[in-house]
């Protein structure tokens, strides 16, 4: 089976100050997978995503999105940042935040019109937040805020989705809602890459996994490589996860 490579990372090295956060990362992410990036705190999971997206400048290495540089393929990529990265007391509404997803395709100066608003409303409906469209964002719960972020990425109608800990601090209902949307995206042939913390749910949610701890430990299908051996290599301790068949 020959699959297209959605994201290709070569020799990526990133450092804050003196200490390397990512070291010589080579990574191929095939098209259409739902992939988890797992690793301990400080392993560089968020950094990896941010470097691929050009938010951080790597010291060395290159990133290709469908064979071309990221700058050229920007419209194919959507990003869901960590929820905690923004100030939720910002004076704006849920619909407004989701509409921001259309800003990229609009470009400079042009304003969102009926078409963009419609797209934003549809995305809100997909994440089950239509009833909250006029709600001030500070008055949303953590899970609702996360869904708003997800909706904003959905509006971009991208081919590849990068998500930084979308399950952090959300309740069970939201977690299920989000994972259902991610699975739908995969069904539609999209590639979804998720920084994930909860090892127990990896086999249930994802079909592809990358183990990361400054260096890449392993990457591949969950059923082949999600085992105690790789977990121990990544986390340093003897980690045992029971995989339900």
């Amino acid at each position: 089976m020959k699959q297209n490579i959605a994201v290709q990372v070569d020799d990526l090295t990133v450092a804050y100050n003196y200490k390397p956060v990512l070291w010589d990362i080579d990574l191929e992410i095939p098209e259409g997978v739902l992939m988890a990036i797992v690793g301990p705190n400080g392993a560089g999971k968020s950094t990896l995503i941010k470097s691929i997206l050009g938010i951080l400048k790597p010291i060395a290495g290159s990133v290709r999105i469908y064979g071309k540089s990221y700058e050229k393929q920007r419209s194919l990529v959507a990003y869901v940042p960590q929820k905690g990265s923004v100030d939720w007391d910002f004076p704006t509404t849920a619909l407004d935040v989701v509409t921001m997803g259309t800003y990229g395709s609009l470009g400079w100066i042009k304003r969102p019109r009926q078409k963009q608003k419609k797209a934003a409303l549809e995305a809100l409906e997909k994440v089950g937040m239509l009833a909250f469209k006029s709600r001030q964002i500070s008055q949303l719960s953590g899970g609702q805020q996360q869904r708003i972020f997800l909706a904003r990425a959905l509006v971009q109608d991208a081919a590849i989705y990068f998500m930084d800990e979308p399950f952090q601090g959300v309740d069970a209902t939201t977690e299920i809602a989000i994972i259902n949307i991610l699975k739908e995206l995969r069904k539609a042939g999209k590639t979804v890459i998720v920084v994930h913390h909860d090892l127990q749910t990896v086999p249930e949610y994802f079909d592809w996994v990358t183990f990361l701890n400054v260096k890449k430990i392993a990457t591949g299908p969950v059923r082949d490589i999600f085992n105690d051996d790789n977990l121990t290599k990544t986390y340093g301790i003897n980690y045992k996860v029971s995989i339900q068949e």
Partner: protein, 344 residues
């Protein structure tokens, strides 16, 4: 108006630093040109304000220092340098020197018609740019990294916003002065934030508050002898802030407290009613009278709540006993059902 952006970026002190950083610019441009007309001096202020700002940014990105440290550092450095130059100028036998210290606290009286025109034009340009790049400004303020992934040149937008903040500050220097300028930038924005949850409304409100403080402040200082205009304007703006903090319907302290107390009262009432309901339930006749004394053991119970219940016709009192009315019983039953429904 532009203060809204400074407040939302949590860079409120930036305004203070910029206005102080503008002082050496004023002094230097006086030293070089010897001119005292405000345009030349403000140009100097603009240049040194911008230099100060970009130094602050440089310090923040290049070193480990926190932004408040960088701000404080640049603020005092530039202000100290400016004061040094000012005293130096004052020692010089130059009749023209007299007006410079006006920039410390500002003096609206020194404004001439051409100054006012310049302010109007620059304000117009600011407004135009603001409307043009509204979307870009908004997304940068809310989520910078995300804006970057959408392909916006965040550095450019950032520089644009910052430059306009500097411009606005420099223009205000003549009126309010170096020391108080940041208040003029922030107070209207802080006040406006209390009243609205929409960025657009906030910006408009801030502009209105700012304009009103200016007009009122000038009027007050003109009607009283020798009150300098700048401080009065700032005080008026501060009054706006105070009023907004206390009286704003959604975020204000007063209404928050009122809501809190009302909520508490309502809950007390409901709880007492529920307590009575449970007692009354045990009798076949729900209106059977009970001693008021049994209520004393119940936490939420006060004479006030009992009186309110009587007023609502949920309870009747007879001597030292109370009894639930049919109405009260039904209301309690409804509450009970509602509560258990919410629990599900």
């Amino acid at each position: 108006m532009l203060g809204s952006f400074a407040v939302l970026r949590k860079q409120s002190l930036l305004g203070d630093a910029i206005s102080h950083a503008a002082l050496p610019g004023i002094a230097i441009s006086f030293l070089i040109t010897g001119a005292k007309d405000s345009h030349t001096l403000l140009l100097g202020a603009l240049v040194s304000g911008l230099i100060g700002t970009f130094w602050i940014r440089g310090i923040i990105t290049k070193t480990h220092l926190k932004s408040d440290t960088a701000l404080g550092l640049i603020l005092s450095l530039f202000f100290g340098f400016g004061m040094l130059l000012l005293t130096f100028i004052q020692k010089q036998p130059n009749a023209n020197q007299a007006g410079l210290d006006k920039y410390l606290f500002g003096q609206a009286a020194t404004l001439v018609e051409s100054d006012v025109w310049m302010m109007a034009i620059v304000t117009g340009i600011c407004l135009f740019v603001l409307l043009l790049f509204w979307k870009e400004f908004k997304i940068l303020l809310f989520d910078k990294d995300y804006a970057k992934t959408l392909g916006f040149n965040t550095k450019l937008i950032d520089i644009l916003i910052t430059s306009f903040i500097v411009l606005a500050i420099v223009l205000g220097l003549q009126t309010v002065g170096v020391v108080l300028m940041s208040a003029m930038l922030l107070a209207p924005a802080a006040a406006a934030r209390q009243w609205t949850n929409s960025l657009a409304t906030m910006v408009v409100l801030a502009a209105i508050f700012g304009a009103f403080s200016g007009v009122f402040g000038t009027a007050i200082s003109a009607s009283q002898n020798n009150l300098s205009t700048g401080p009065v304007i700032v005080l008026v703006a501060a009054v706006f802030v105070l009023i907004s903090f206390i009286f704003s319907p959604s975020r204000g302290l007063l209404f928050k407290q009122i809501r809190f107390i009302k909520n508490r009262r309502d809950l007390e009432l409901h709880k007492t009613l529920a307590f009575m309901y449970h007692i009354a339930e045990s009798h076949a006749d729900i209106t059977h009278p009970h001693e008021i004394k049994i209520l004393n053991g119940f936490q939420g119970y006060t004479k006030g709540t009992l009186k309110k219940l009587v007023e609502k016709n949920y309870v009747t009192l007879k001597g030292s006993t109370w009894s639930l009315t049919n109405e009260g019983f039904e209301s309690a039953l409804n509450l009970y059902n509602q509560l258990s429904k919410n629990d599900e």
